[in-house]
Amino acid sequence: MWKSQGINLSPGTVIKGKWHYRSYTIVKKLGSGAMGTVYLATENGQSVAIKFGHNSSSITTEVNVLRTLQKVQDHKLGPSLLDVDDWVLKDGSQVSFYAMEYLKGKELNRFVQEHGFEWVGILAVQLLEDLEHLHQFGWVFGDLKTDNLLVTFPPARMRWLDVGGTTQVGRAIKEYTEFYDRGYWGMGSRKADPQYDLFAFAMVILQIEYPGRFERGTHPERALFMKLKQANNIAPYQEILGKALRSEYNSAAEMKDALTSLLLASPTQSKRNTRAGRKQSHSVQPSRKKPTATVPYSGASTSAHKWEIVGIVMTVCLFYMMYVVMQWI
């Protein structure tokens, strides 16, 4: 017999695996979703997270993905896998589970609420870097949404969990959530490609402004871009998010670079000091920074950029002329 749905374990329950005999003591429930329930547990005093699946096949699929991701050696993607097993209950039924690294952190929205909006861009760059590695490896995360993200702190680091939707490039996305799904908004297919993740990720950032989410109505695309336009707290990222929603970035790296140059070009704005931030950024931009700090990307094409280049060219010319003149003398 297979036990499905709604597993409910009280603290202190000891879980012993049928195949590997490792035993875990349940501490508390961490959360649950469509595919399983995750508990914090200890094994010999060490904290681990254990995911009990509603069915055995979803656990097997996720374990396969986690094993594959573990092969990306120089870059850690997702929580590490510690054990896979079945637990036999008193009544003879069994539940499949796997144990993984416990990520202690805060939900993204709570983190931003408590630490300020200036963190959004910085955390986003981190996740885009992970996505970049994942995509290069030939996989797409798929079910990217706030429930599947966590910010560990300190140092602040955005991490993903739940690889249930993680799909090989070119295949049909295994699992998705409507609000974050490109197909749901009529903005593209459900085939796994890097742009699929970038769309979902843009939605993750957009929902920071609208935690209650919003409806697609009869004109999904129009509704979506209207909401983007009205998003004040994340206003600096509007252009970048818009491009991600339209699948205009070729890769996560391209989006990351655009975001990075934006972050470097202006002081990070937070809700608390928006006005001061704006003023500052206006007075800072025209005054030329060190030429080495310029990033040759079109992401933030402002007039300041042009002036910097003109400045560099003029400086070089000046030096050259002095050199020529010196030669003459």
Partner: protein, 246 residues
């Protein structure tokens, strides 16, 4: 392992059948013919508990070797694609289980294997699910009570084709409604690879008070058998025939 075509009937209804033969019996028959029957029962948005009629939903799907789910209209889209995919996995797992039993002799199932071995088998099942061809006949209950749910059903079917067409394998869909005007069911859409044109043909009006689920299922089942016998008549190049049908 040869890459076959999976055949499914997806029944979408909101209540119990009240005319003709027992739908569970027909579903059993369909399953024996290689057609899986999945059933989705729709609840009214304000309905808090399961009404009596919907018990039948699980029974039909169990008999038809498929998956059933009872949902509120608003989450229909996600459910339709999930049920279809789950049923595919289930069927493919069944096939793999049979092969396992042949190889290992004893009554071995995927779950009886250690987790490590399970992983390899699951990979095979997933590959098959991604690449196999699929035929889904959608049978929509359009009895009077379904009236305000029809637009949602239409959207969810469009969404289903979006999900399945992201796969590498080929898909063919057809849509029927019941009760039919004169027959057990009416054809809304003949076998087609995409449901892009669904909004122009999907009925906006319901078609009557009776719910002859059993007889409609029997008709639906024959849409597969007919095709197959036709193919057998024509001969061996069955895949070519299928292609030209698009």
């Amino acid at each position: 392992m040869n890459k076959g075509t999976l055949k499914q009937i997806l029944l979408i209804t909101d209540g119990c059948s009240n005319q003709g033969e027992d739908p569970a019996a027909v579903a059993t028959l369909a399953y024996q013919q290689g057609v899986t029957v999945n059933v989705i029962g729709i609840l009214e948005d304000q309905q808090s508990e399961q009404p009596e009629g919907l018990e039948e939903v699980e029974e039909i799907a169990m008999s038809g070797g498929g998956v059933s789910q009872i949902v509120y209209a608003k989450s229909l889209s996600q459910t339709v694609q999930m049920v279809t995919k789950q049923a595919m996995t289930q069927t493919l797992q069944g096939v793999v289980n049979q092969e396992l039993q042949q190889i290992l002799g004893a009554k071995q199932e995927i779950e009886d294997l250690p987790p490590e071995k399970r992983g390899e088998i699951m990979e095979v099942v997933e590959d098959l699910g991604e690449t196999c061809d699929l035929e889904v006949l959608v049978l929509v209950d359009t009895s009077a009570s379904m009236h305000n749910k029809l637009p949602t059903v239409r959207d969810s079917l469009f969404d289903l084709s979006l999900s399945l067409n992201a796969r590498m394998g080929k898909n063919r869909f057809s849509i029927y409604t019941f009760p039919g005007k004169r027959k057990e069911m009416d054809k809304i859409m003949d076998w087609t690879p995409k449901l892009d044109s669904i909004s122009s043909v999907f009925p906006k009006l319901t078609s009557g008070g009776i719910t002859p689920t059993g007889p409609a299922l029997r008709e639906a089942m024959q849409q597969f058998t007919k095709k197959r016998s036709l193919r057998n008549l024509i001969g061996r190049e069955d895949t070519d025939v299928e292609e030209s049908g698009y």
